[in-house]
């Protein structure tokens, strides 16, 4: 599905879709080791508790002193910014809490592509989604959405960038005090000035798109829905504002094979009909192979494979062969 051929060097223990200088001789801007990004942990759930820019800078100054690194210089001229045309780009991202979770992770998603991130449990796949959503901020490295560096944004600016994205959480994360209708209408009420009739029309349209009968489900509470229905309502809510980027956290986990197929088809339908760029985190190799333009394999805190599904089945790498198992 790529428009242009990519350089793919597939080797165990180190593959990125942007080969560095050692492999193909092209100079790349290196991010210095002690270059710091302010506001390490924008865990926005308690964002209010973590304060304004000034407070974050104070805290960053304290951290700098504690770690006895030189205070960070602002990154110098952007000799090389984000790759053009990329909708989502992660550039050499490092992130860790008590222990490192991601080290030197880079990948790229062009418009209309579906990237499926696979890997063992706990390798940081959901963390990658949170970085794209800027619910977390990397310790170093950059995240670009539509060419804009989102790691430096304030809380309110980040809220605005998120309107371009729709996220479907692992358990759908529907608001359980609200009905299905209110859940799907929520982004519309928050960010648009649509009238009630228009909202109802849009809600019905989205529920139809995900193959649910609006009249039957609209007034139900999330606790009254089956797992598959919850996921579908989650997708409807994620796409309510017609975002250009959709993010899915394990959309098919815990579902029976038939429903898994339905959800996979739905994601592909979204990609085909609305050309959204999708990043899907999944354990399900079968549906990953169906819907992916590119597959990224996350293991040992890095991306060890980035390529098309065909390349992945054709590889000789022992880890990947084991990972694919009998597939």
């Amino acid at each position: 599905m790529a428009d242009e051929p990519r350089d793919q060097t597939i080797a165990p223990g180190g593959t990125r879709n942007r080969p560095d200088a050692a492999l193909d001789g092209e100079p790349r801007r290196r991010i210095e080791d002690d270059e710091r990004v302010p506001a390490r942990r924008a865990a926005d759930a308690t964002r209010g508790a973590l304060g304004t820019t000034r407070e974050r800078r104070v805290r960053q100054a304290i951290r700098d002193e504690l770690s006895s690194h030189a205070p960070s210089d602002r990154p110098l001229a952007e000799e090389e910014g984000p790759a053009s045309g990329a909708v989502i780009e992660l550039e050499r991202v490092h992130l860790g809490f008590d222990r490192p979770i991601l080290e030197d992770v880079s990948f790229l998603a062009q418009e209309g592509e579906t990237i499926v991130v696979v890997g063992e449990s706990g390798t940081g796949k959901s963390t990658t989604l949170k970085l794209i959503l800027r619910l977390l901020v990397p310790d170093s490295g950059r995240v670009y959405i539509d060419g804009q560096d989102i790691t430096q944004l304030s809380f309110n600016e980040a809220l605005r960038v998120r309107q371009k994205m729709g996220m479907v959480f692992q358990g759908a994360a529907l608001f359980d005090s609200m009905s299905v209708y209110e859940n799907v209408a929520y982004p519309l009420r928050e960010h648009t000035a649509l009238s009630e009739e228009e909202i109802e029309e849009r809600v019905r349209e989205k529920l139809d798109f995900v193959d649910l009968d609006p009249d039957q489900v609209m007034d139900k509470l999330p606790s009254e829905l089956s797992g598959g229905m919850k996921k579908r309502v989650g997708i409807a809510r994620g796409m309510a504002n017609n975002p250009e980027i959709m993010l899915y956290d394990e959309p098919t986990s815990g579902l029976d094979p038939l429903t898994t197929g339905t959800i996979t088809r739905l994601i592909m339908k979204l990609q085909r009909e609305l050309s959204v760029t999708s990043v899907v985190v999944s354990h399900d190799i079968r549906s990953a192979f169906r819907m992916a333009s590119y597959i990224a394999l996350l293991s040992e805190r890095r991306i060890t494979f980035f390529g098309t599904p065909e390349e992945m089945t054709g590889t000789d790498d022992p880890y990947i062969r084991t990972f694919l198992g009998g597939f």
């Binding site: 759930a45 308690t46 209010g48 770690s67 959503l133 619910l135 809220l159 994360a173 960010h191």
Partner: protein
């Protein structure tokens, strides 16, 4: 290195590796505690300042006023009434030895309005409302609904915390007024039934007690100011504590249980401690 269990974000400090093991544990624990206090204070400040920010979720405020105020009415009525009765019963024994039973009205009024009304209403509401808020927000946190709110472009502080704090600040003084009144009423019942103080005398002494505290701005009794400032502060403590523990819940359903317990314990203790300092301060303000 272990960090304090209650901090939402862990601090790992490579520089402290030069400290011996025990001291560096202490170091991290102390820093984590300070971080919690800082984050609590920032949450409180933001919750209050967003009352004046847009968007303002007025519908949520009204809903919370119902959940916090109206639905706590039952327990407030019950506890207030029985507290007043027990106070009358116990104090009547002491007063009789001094032959001062006509002063029972003054004693009950003074105790209820200045201390027992605010503190007991605060403790009841802390148990009921504090645990409810912590459980609700905690469950939302562990099922990623807070992340979903962030993803959908809503600030969870504005949507969840500020309505609850505002509702508590409004409702707790109102509940305290009711608590005071039914307490004094309960005292009236016991006074007239067992102590032999007729109602007319009782209510006259109630008014005398209120008036004896002095007036500010000519018409407002000082006792009322003291007795309503306290629940205002307690309401803030209860709601902010509940929201703080709720938002920092981790660890699934067990985590929700822990948050709920901690909220009730922390807000109850905080109410009693702050009550002492507030009383000191108010007595300093209002005693000539």
């Amino acid at each position: 290195m272990p960090s304090g269990g209650e901090a939402p974000a862990a601090i790992t400090s490579p520089a402290s590796s030069y400290l011996p093991g025990f001291l560096s544990t202490l170091n991290d624990a102390a820093k984590a505690k300070v971080l919690s206090v800082q984050e609590y204070a920032t949450l409180a400040w933001n919750a209050l300042r967003f009352i004046f920010a847009r968007p303002f979720y007025g519908g949520d405020v009204v809903q919370q006023m119902d959940a916090i105020g109206v639905q706590s009415l039952g327990i407030v009525l019950l506890t207030g009434f029985f507290t007043g009765m027990v106070l009358a019963l116990q104090s009547s024994v002491q007063l009789q030895t001094f032959g001062a039973t006509p002063y029972i009205g003054r004693l009950i009024t003074g105790s209820m309005i200045r201390e027992l009304g605010p503190v007991l209403a605060g403790l009841m509401v802390a148990g009921r409302v504090g645990s409810g808020i912590a459980a609700q927000i905690g469950s939302m946190k562990v099922t990623e609904q807070i992340d979903a709110l962030n993803t959908l472009g809503t600030d969870p502080i504005k949507k969840l915390v500020t309505p609850r704090v505002l509702a508590a600040l409004i409702m707790l003084p109102l509940l305290t007024v009711i608590n005071d009144f039914v307490g004094i009423l309960g005292g009236n019942v016991i006074a007239s039934l067992y102590v032999g103080v007729p109602s007319g005398l009782y209510w006259r002494t109630v008014w005398e007690q209120i008036a004896s505290g002095g007036f500010s701005m000519r018409y407002i009794p000082n006792d009322f100011i003291m007795g309503l400032l306290k629940p205002f502060v307690f309401g803030g403590i209860i709601s902010v504590t509940a929201c703080y523990y709720g938002l920092s819940t981790t660890g699934g359903t067990e985590g929700v249980g822990t948050s709920t317990t901690r909220t009730v314990v922390a807000s109850s203790v905080a109410i009693l401690v702050v009550d002492y300092f507030l009383t000191q301060f108010l007595l300093f303000l209002f005693t000539p």
